[in-house]
Amino acid sequence: MTAARRDDESILDEDGLLRRVPHWPNMTKFCHQTGTLRPSSACFKDKGTGDTEVSVTLENDLLASGKTHNDATQMQGFGLAKLNAGFARTKLSNVQIINRSPEELDPHHALVIGDKTSRDLKKLAQAAELIIPPDIRD
């Protein structure tokens, strides 16, 4: 499946990839390596593809459509983490490709496709910036 897909070069390395972060249960933690609150690597795991595909929202497309970061959270209280496309493509143990994959609820939806190890998912979590912290209940 992955081999048949090509990286979408219209998504630039400096473009932001947004990932929703639930507010319950609390999916954030203090990271001693970065000294910041960050999402757990569990936030970047996938329900059924063995972590081969991670859903994101393309920040540039979202903002260009007149929507805001708050719109991308979709759910009340959810936070939003941001990664750079270039980081996802080149800083993991396997090269990742990014494909647009529009969905009804998220027309700016895309997939970061490629095998990812536990260490890779940790790297994504550590590189992610919480641009909207989740409204933690507990």
Binding site: P22, P25, Q33, S41, K45, Q74
Partner: protein
């Protein structure tokens, strides 16, 4: 799975007295699992599965097998595939255990001071897991007094 159902299933293994006597890290995991038992599918808005009862019970059993009084309080998270993740972030050390089932754990351990990295799918034989916990306890003790949370 409801909170009560989780409690009922672990009763033979963990009655109230045992829970009170168990170490704080085990109690912390138990309380987080009780919280997760209220999750429904799609809790992350990306179609996540609610944690399975097998994963939650296995996580509880694992903590009682490998946690000691030196084990720092972990962070505990549900994983979108229905498993449960127990993790620690100490200065210079990261460790995660994803509990999938009674005989499948995914271990990630990285010591940034020694560059030791363990990424392994453990089954019934989990010597790597025990070794990683040893490092974690060592690191927790050496960091005693610093800002990480240590279970006493």
């Amino acid at each position: 799975m409801t909170s009560l159902a989780l409690v009922a299933q672990v009763q033979p293994f963990q009655d109230t007295t045992t829970l009170k006597q168990s170490n704080p890290a085990c109690r912390h995991v138990y309380h987080k699992l009780q919280e997760f038992s209220h999750l429904s599918d799609n809790w992350d808005s990306y179609g996540a599965l609610a944690p399975t009862s097998e994963a939650m019970l296995s996580a509880l059993q694992l903590t009682h097998t490998i946690f000691t009084k030196e084990t720092p309080l972990p962070d505990v998270f549900p994983v979108p595939n229905g498993s449960v993740q127990i993790e620690w972030s100490l200065a210079g050390l990261e460790m995660e255990i994803e509990v999938v089932s009674q005989d499948k754990f995914i271990l990630y351990f990285e010591n940034f001071e020694t560059d030791e990295l363990i990424e392994e799918v453990c089954s019934i034989e989990f010597s790597s897991l025990v070794r990683a916990m040893g490092y974690l306890h060592e690191k927790a003790l050496s960091n005693l007094g610093s800002r990480f949370r240590l279970a006493n």
